[in-house]
């Protein structure tokens, strides 16, 4: 048995799967002030009459980290940056407790200026005096050489509750994003760790020994205690749960578009051959561009409850929501009211819906039906144009080799999956406009919880080897090791895969879920000024890609 729990803004859903079949679902109102309470309630409900001994695992998709950031319930963080030349410090400063030090590393990972012990100690003194408990240490190019960051950490070790290191966040290059990611990680570290502690205490009182997993933004899971070091990984797990849910309810290998049409927004995701696409660098939260691995989703302000009005002679929808649709007592006409007026659905109070649509029809001097049609059409068209824009962005993403320019793979969707309240009335319209068929999965109301339950453990690693320097780095793991001159691309791939496997198993992956894929594979010959070969620059990135746990696919039709 697997239990998936999705803590949403309004409801907390749970689903209990027995041999991949839905055995039971449960739903409680989310207590935003006390998420643990909602989790306990929903767990007790779903376990009633079940044998906890049969439980294999519990996967949680929770808003704890997202909420902490969105509601600014964050801790003060002392940031130490080793920036070196480049952007001005004003462009890099993330808060008023940002301090710059003189040491730095260049693009080859060579330390150009070392750590000044006195300088770092002095910054530590200031932080301590200010009562700061959490520190973030970030160097430019620290993924190429993490040593400078760890040295800074060693100098002030023991003086603060926790220190977050930039090189541990991601192997990707992008200093400002590394700063933001490290800052957020440090800022929510305490809140998240208290949450984990509470959960573990609660689990301790139950009769289960089943492992607890947390769903991450990339649609993969991580063991809860392993996630405690990297709390930012668990932000935005809600949209990830939704995408993984749709994947589990559709379960095919085609290029596809997924639409989750809600009350306020429509979330769009894209599948390439059955795998959800990831953000190239990382997700954005509250204006912070980060290196947090996450699914590529786009949210637009069009939903069933979006406010519709006439502005400057033009019909406008959203992005705001005034309340529910007029048919449910809301103040403004909405696409839902239009769908009711067009008899595409028979929910709510039809009289109220007609009255609301009539109001704007009056302004334009047309019939209720004409206006309802126009409203519905505009809502669909806005969604379509966002989908097409997203596809065009993906397919026009810059590439850097002649081969990719001429042979690069394009996403060519063959199906659109639609979930959410207005899915049924809108799907048949949207698919015609997109030019490929739609599919509305069953059990969509608990898709998020199912998605969490069936997601596998994911992770990635970046290996850089420089045979001229005779050194190899895997920043995310803090590995820096000597390599022989004859070190090859094949050696690099082997090591990267091994370390990735170890990391995934440590995070709680099962051996048969280790679907490892090399996603970057570049080798450059470095040539000296004299024209002879000086060494090789090898760059390998490997991942366990987002997907569903092994065993599920074999019994494909069970969930349907």
């Amino acid at each position: 048995m697997i239990v998936g729990i999705d803590v949403g803004g309004t409801h907390t859903d749970a689903v209990l799967l027995d041999r991949f079949e839905i055995k039971k679902t449960a739903k409680v109102i989310t207590n935003r002030e006390n998420l643990i309470k909602s989790l306990m309630e929903v767990t007790e409900e779903i376990f009633e009459g079940e044998d906890p001994g049969k439980l294999e695992k519990v996967v949680l998709s929770t808003t704890i980290s997202t909420n902490a950031i969105v509601q600014s319930k964050t801790d003060r963080v002392g940031m130490i940056l080793a920036a070196g030349p480049g952007l001005s410090s004003e462009m890099l400063r993330i808060n008023e407790d940002t301090r710059f030090i003189s040491g730095y590393v260049n693009h080859r990972g060579i330390r150009v200026a070392g750590t000044d012990r006195k300088e770092v100690t002095g910054i530590g003194d200031i932080f301590e005096k200010e009562g700061i408990d959490h520190v973030g240490i970030v160097g430019k190019f620290s993924t190429r050489n993490p040593r400078l960051e760890t040295e800074i950490g060693d100098i002030i070790d023991g003086r603060f509750r926790h220190m977050s290191f930039g090189h541990r966040m991601s192997g990707n290059l992008n200093f400002p994003r590394r700063i933001a990611t490290t800052y957020l990680n440090a800022a929510i570290w305490n809140t998240y760790n208290i949450f984990v502690k509470n959960i573990m205490e609660y689990v301790g009182h139950t009769n289960t020994t089943a492992p607890i997993y947390i769903l991450k933004a990339d649609g993969g899971t991580s063991g809860i205690s392993q996630s405690a070091e990297y709390p930012v990984g668990s932000i935005l797990s809600g949209p990830a749960a939704s995408v993984m849910g749709i994947l589990s309810l559709t379960n095919d290998n085609r290029d596809a578009v997924a639409l989750d049409i809600g009350g306020t927004t429509t979330d769009i995701a894209i599948f390439a051959g059955g795998t959800p696409l990831l953000e190239p660098l990382g997700v954005t939260i509250e204006g912070h561009k980060t290196l947090i691995r996450g699914l590529l989703t786009r949210s637009i302000g069009i939903g069933g409850d979006s406010r519709v009005r006439y502005e400057d002679g033009q019909l406008v929808i959203g992005p705001e929501r005034d309340g529910p649709a007029a048919a449910f007592g809301g103040p403004s006409p909405t696409p839902t009211d239009a769908m009711i007026a067009l008899s595409l659905t028979n929910i709510g109070d039809r009289g109220k819906a007609l009255k609301a649509v009539e109001e704007i029809a009056g302004i334009k001097n047309c019939s209720i039906e004409e206006m309802a049609k126009e409203m519905f059409d505009l809502a669909c068209r806005k969604i379509i144009s966002a989908v097409n824009e997203m596809l065009s962005e993906i397919n026009n993403k810059p590439v850097y080799t002649v081969h990719e320019i001429f042979e690069g793979k394009k996403i060519n969707p063959e199906v659109v999956y639609v979930v959410g309240g207005p899915a049924r009335p809108m799907a048949s319209y949207i698919d015609k406009m997109l030019g490929f068929p739609s599919f509305i999965p069953e059990h969509a109301q608990v898709a998020n919880a199912i998605g969490a339950a069936l997601a596998r453990t994911t992770t990635e690693l970046t290996l850089l080897a420089d045979t001229e320097k005779g050194e190899m780095t895997i920043a995310e793991e803090g590995i820096q090791a000597s390599i022989p001159r004859g070190f090859t691309r094949e050696n690099a791939i082997d090591i990267c895969e091994d370390k990735l496997r170890e990391r995934a198993l440590r995070m709680g992956a099962r051996e048969d879920d280790l679907d490892i894929e090399i996603i970057e594979d570049q080798v450059f010959n470095m040539v000296s000024e004299m024209g002879y070969s000086a060494g090789k620059n090898i760059r390998i990135k490997a991942q366990v890609k987002p997907g569903l746990v092994a065993g599920f696919k074999k019994e494909e039709s069970d969930v349907r």
Binding site: P85, M91, H107, P398, Y400, T401, F524, N525
Partner: protein
Amino acid sequence: MSDNKKKTGLIFFPAFDWAISPTHPEREERLLYTQDQVFEEGLLDLDNIVEFKPGLATIQDINRIHICAPDAESVITQSHLISAGGAITAAEKVMQKEVDNAFALVRPPGHHAMRIVHGARGFCNINIEAIMVEYIRHKYGPKKIAIVDTDCHHGDGSQDIFWHDPNTLYISVHQDGRTLYPGSGFPDEFGGPNALGYTINIPLPPNTSDEGFLFTLDNLILPMLDEFKPDLIINSAGQDNHYSDPITNMAFSAQGYAILNDRLSPDIAVLEGGYSIESALPYVNVGIILAMAGLDYSHVTEPDYNPENIRQPPQTTQYIEQQVSHIYNLWRNRRSQRAGVTKGGEYMRRDKSIFYDTDGISEQQKETVRICDECGGLITIDSQASTGNRIFAVMIPGQSCPTCRKKGEEIFESTAGGSYDYVYFQDRDRDIFLVK
């Protein structure tokens, strides 16, 4: 600083799978560390910097500017279509006003490629800026365009292409040709009879540093641009004037390049040479991008940067001051020199020996231009290359006068194929390219 913020387009194409040969300076990792630095600085996340994928140039785009023997397909690789396409994409984004300016950070480069192309010279097969310039005129109509070529090597290809074009002010500032490839680019190379003064060469002595370059910019290049009043300014942004460049001898820095771009304020910049791939390019490119975007570039310095170490000697300063004043006088007096050059003749001929160092081809060329007061003048070229190809080309310039066109058509008509392997006809106004 933020008041000057501009929206800058970046077309980045490092061609990580293309090299002239495995140890050639023009090889796969040339822009690798530049990519690393640009990515690590997070420049592409800034709201006023947008990256675009390069489009592909077409054979038609090439044939609008070049005569390739035997044809364009056989002198290029796919990579050239992308780098020329990248320059065109940069131009499109600027012309469509999607951005205020754009930088095509692409390779392979182009400024040594001349009108006639039998092969590669100076690492260049086709002239990506020239293709871009003609594309702009073809699509957006006649334009006065200034090209400021800041590559350390004289842009002899661009000079050859724009030699007779009074609507293109081609300014090349480079290391003195007596000390560096291709050995040309002296102040007396001043443009053809119909475009006298619209080719400007500014050779600078070895070890010229920021001070000398910026003096030349402020006292010569900018005043000429003020007078010429171009519709577009293009920077042929070679980066081999850098003090760490392995194949040149100048002392320009990343700060110098950034300041130059800030003051020059080009609409479009296109990368040319620059082979200090680890010590210079990452910093120079970040500096140029920030300067174009109107952002603070004052912290962009090479790790070993020390202005004292690269300061030019006083006699260099003095020499540059004289050189600048000499060239500025030439420019001011350009109109009065024409009669002395044309001597009342109807045609002028120049004979050229061209060596394609990259491909080891030599070419003998006879270029004839019609002296014309109405347009850039009809051009014919008779070219014999060591590949065995002998070709003849008739070229009608853009904004041509009826006489030059008519004469050109007659010459093409009457030239028998017999003595030539190929005879070409290129008409820019009508966008016609014929081969017989």
